[in-house]
């Protein structure tokens, strides 16, 4: 982490509403994700504006402080804002204003704050129509991540904000275009429904959220074989797809693994499953989180 005053950085901490111990904690989290950080509310000037600004939200406050809005308007009009509040939240992370403002409670833990920062620093999806998404991307309504053999499991985002997780027929190889591949999971731009399809290929699809009861659901076990299924989507939902089917051991332990990482959101789940998949036969892991 480069922490300094007066240089351009991708992350700006506005310290006025952050106590010293919170500021130190935040610096440590930023360091862990390797983000370049600037602290202070001085003007950006000729430097590149930050992509994310972070500040605190006073106890009882319900609106973004006017000075913060003004600072963003004048210095980084495209930046996302992460607000950290001291009060406990039932929903540990809340996103508003078309994805620009994210509210997280300190009490939700460092892992969640780390995960939100990583999410906000992700690249936007490609502007080209229906292009395949690589790595981690952040759209207005969802965050996506994909790892492993990208020929078998691919993520696509179109300019309207629709997200599609496709399962390419293995025999066809990599020459197939996205439209040929079988959609396994679709999240429309409104992010209000998961459309799940069930091709006759080995795969694993789970839906999890700390706001769901139960927290993690194996959609394959519940809906497999029913053709297309629509499940209402809600902010905080994380959909996970792994293909081909997981090894027996991991398949058995996956529910517990997901439940223990659900509080960290999509990035934490993605990391945990990617790590576990290395020891399994799984070749591709994809995660979509609704913001």
């Amino acid at each position: 982490m480069s922490s300094s005053w007066g240089q351009g950085a991708e992350l700006r901490i506005l310290p006025e509403r952050l106590a010293d111990d919170r500021l130190s904690e935040l610096q440590a989290i930023c360091s862990a994700i390797g983000a370049s950080v600037l602290i202070g509310d001085d003007a950006v000037g000729n430097a590149l504006p930050p992509r994310v600004a972070v500040t605190g939200l006073g106890r009882g406050a319900r609106r973004v402080p006017q000075q913060v809005i003004q600072w963003l308007d004048e210095n980084a009009p495209e930046a996302c804002l992460l607000l950290l509040c001291e009060e406990p939240l039932i929903r540990s992370s809340v996103t508003r204003s078309e994805g620009r403002v994210t509210l997280v409670a300190w009490g939700s833990g460092r892992e969640l704050i780390r995960s939100r920062l990583r999410m906000l620093l992700s690249e936007p999806p490609p502007a080209e129509s229906d292009e395949r998404v690589q790595g981690e991307t952040l759209a207005r309504r969802c965050w996506t991540a994909c790892a492993g053999d990208r020929r078998s499991l691919t993520l696509h985002c179109d300019p309207e904000g629709n997200t599609r997780l496709a399962l390419t027929i293995a025999d066809a190889g990599a020459t197939r275009t996205p439209s040929d591949s079988r959609a396994l999971l679709r999240l429309p731009s409104s992010a209000d429904a998961w459309h799940v399809d069930w091709p006759a290929l080995p795969h694993t699809v789970w839906l999890l959220s700390t706001q769901r009861l139960p927290t993690a659901t194996d959609l394959g076990a519940v809906h497999g074989g029913k053709g297309s299924v629509v499940v209402r989507a809600a902010p905080g939902d994380v959909a996970l797809a792994v293909t081909p089917a997981l090894g027996e051991q991991l398949a058995r332990d996956l529910g517990q693994l997901l439940e223990s990482n659900a509080a960290g959101g999509g990035p934490a789940v993605f990391d945990a499953v990617t790590r576990a998949a290395r020891t399994s036969q799984a070749s591709s892991v994809a995660v979509v989180e609704v913001r």
């Binding site: 406990p88 009861l213 139960p214």
Partner: protein, 594 residues
């Protein structure tokens, strides 16, 4: 100086005032929007000549507004001037949009604003296209046709004068002019112009029209379903009004201009919400219910009519049940401002409509107690007092857009007493104790001031109040939530934990160990009882709770395993108020608590 319509999109009252003053002595007509959502709705409803856009808005960024405008053929050519504290250097972000004209600094002087707006208006190469020619032609043609129809009627006034005698002129001429015949002719005159605006009516509507050689069809945009029904009532027509609302078809039957029955082709929607007690079906077999649902989907015949014909529902109850549910369906749609419709003149209404149809009334502000039964808590004087306050609210000032409203303690019990329009329900559903009134108004999809007036009305009848006036719920006063669900680790424990985190924690009482569930429910008098429908005896428990008059305020919720999602209609008909399918979202539980 040019003259046109200017839409100013800015949430700052200061800036809005500045612009208002800047154009006070100009021929420009200036309109305002405080948020991106409100602005997009206003621009699509009636495209202005120029837009003055703030760079940062409460709900979205200026550039997103610009993008949304550019993607809509109705608004893509409206010239846009951007106002920003960053000044002209943000212009590069907008250059991708052909409608973007220039960026001006903020704060700007009146002269700068005027100059930029005038320049934008003049420089627009195809400004005639802002108001599409065909639309204007249609409006002109409609106006001419209406004029000719009315001229004929008005020409009779001298003759009527001779008949007038000693009668009061206003009621006399109103009766003469607003005759069912004339209203029918006006509708028929305007129908072709309305239907021109209709893009591809739904297959169901088109089929019915062909079958019945029917009358007219069209779209409602910018006026309400209530207005359409009022118009049809005045025309004295008999027939079937089909409304297509986001893919769902609602059927409204009129006899001589009187709405007498309302139905829908979707049985789940028909049965959703608070059903009158006599409408609860406890012992109908699954096969019979399936048959009734199929019939409703195919013809719109309510399930109760089919069940009655099969001997599974008392015919004596039909009229009241159809009327009560019809009124709820009608209230759901009277405020809808976008729908497709078709009216079919019918010489004979369906037999069940003729037999059981009774006047179904609706009024715009129906935030009042039901007219023919005492349903709410409290005495008659309490009801009168609330009604008085509601009427007073119509004349009181609108709430401040920054006021945050929350639901009153005991809301769930109180709300049962009110019949509300769809718009009132929509606004009420957005009151979350966090969002300011202005934001709720913007999200409601209603005209801004109308939404604020609705908030005022809801406050006046003591369903919501501003946080400043909040008497916080005390933990002791909170009624628990009761649950009968076998999954402890995956469901009950995390639910209890989430309920504990609330600002006002709610107890979760487990019914698993109770030998007498009904007695436990009577003892705790909970806000809601959640019963897993897969547990044997759940339906019976629901039935017993429903039959217990002192538990009428308790919400009954069926928890459904995902494999059983198709049982929704059956469970609603059995007396459950609502259903939740696993994995549920916690916000659904919050809704139950409100």
């Amino acid at each position: 100086m040019a003259a046109g319509r200017l839409l100013v999109i800015d949430d700052s009252p200061t800036v809005r005032k500045l612009v208002e003053l800047s154009f006070a002595n100009s021929p420009w007509h200036v309109e305002f929007a405080a948020s991106g959502g409100q602005a997009l709705a206003a621009a699509r409803r009636s495209p202005p000549d120029v837009i003055l856009l703030d760079f940062v808005l409460p709900d979205m960024r200026g550039i997103d507004v610009c993008e949304a405008l550019s993607k809509d053929s109705r608004t893509s050519r409206i010239p846009i001037v951007v106002m920003t504290g960053k000044g002209p250097e943000v212009a590069h972000a907008f250059r991708a949009f052909p409608a973007f004209q220039c960026a001006i600094g903020k704060p700007a002087t009146s002269a700068v604003i005027l100059e930029a707006i005038e320049a934008a208006f003049v420089k627009t190469p195809n400004k005639d296209l802002v108001r599409p020619g065909p639309t204007l032609q249609r409006r002109e043609a409609a106006a001419k046709a209406l004029y000719l129809t009315l001229r004929e009627a008005l020409a009779q006034i001298p003759a009527w004068m001779a008949e007038l005698g000693v009668q009061a002129p206003a009621p006399y001429f109103a009766k003469k002019l607003l005759s069912p015949e004339l209203m029918g002719r006006i509708l028929s005159t305007l129908a072709p112009f309305t239907s021109e605006q209709t893009s591809a009516p739904s297959a169901g509507v088109a089929t019915s029209l062909e079958q019945a050689n029917a009358s007219f069809q069209g779209s409602i945009k910018g006026w309400t379903v209530g207005g359409l029904i009022t118009f049809l009532e005045a025309s004295g027509r008999t027939g079937e009004l089909q409304l297509n609302l986001s893919g769902e078809t609602q059927l409204i039957y009129l006899r001589a201009g009187e709405v007498i029955l309302v139905s829908t082709r979707e049985p789940t929607r028909y049965l959703r919400g608070a059903l009158p007690p006599q409408a609860r079906l406890h012992s109908v077999s699954r096969e019979l219910m399936d048959l009734a649902e199929r019939e409703q989907r195919a013809t719109g015949t309510p399930v109760f009519v089919t069940l009655s014909a099969q001997g599974a529902f008392a015919p004596a109850l039909l009229t009241d049940v159809l009327r009560a549910i019809g009124r709820r369906l009608l209230l759901d749609v009277v405020d809808v401002t976008e729908a497709k419709f078709a009216f079919v003149d019918l010489p004979h209404l369906p037999a069940y409509v003729e037999a059981h149809g009774r006047h179904v009334s609706f009024a715009r502000n129906t935030l009042s107690f039901g007219d023919d039964e005492e349903r709410g808590p409290g005495s008659l004087s309490e009801q009168q007092r609330l009604l008085m306050r509601m009427r007073e609210a119509a004349t009181t000032a609108l709430p401040n857009a920054d006021d945050v409203y929350t639901r009153v303690p005991g809301f769930s019990g109180r709300v049962q007493a009110f019949e509300m329009t769809g718009a009132e329900r929509r606004v009420l559903s957005l009151v979350d104790g966090i969002s300011p009134a202005g934001q709720i108004a913007a999200r409601s999809g209603l005209p801004f001031e109308e939404a604020l007036a609705t908030i005022a009305r809801l406050g006046a009848v003591n369903l919501i109040h501003s946080r400043g006036a909040t008497q916080a719920e005390s933990p002791g006063s909170s009624r628990p939530l009761m649950i009968l669900e076998p999954d402890a680790d995956g469901f009950k424990t995390p639910l209890a934990s989430l309920l504990e985190k609330r600002a006002v924690p709610v107890r979760l009482v487990d019914l698993s160990g109770e030998s007498d569930v009904l007695a436990a429910v009577r003892r705790e008098h909970p806000r809601a009882v959640i019963l897993n429908a897969a547990i044997g005896g759940s339906l019976d428990t629901a039935k017993r709770v429903r039959e217990s008059s002192e538990l009428s305020e308790v919400l009954l919720v069926a928890l459904i395993e995902p494999q059983m999602a198709d049982r929704t209609s059956e469970l609603l008909a059995a007396g459950f108020d609502t259903t939740l399918v696993k994995p549920i979202v916690y916000s659904d539980i919050e809704r139950l608590l409100h």
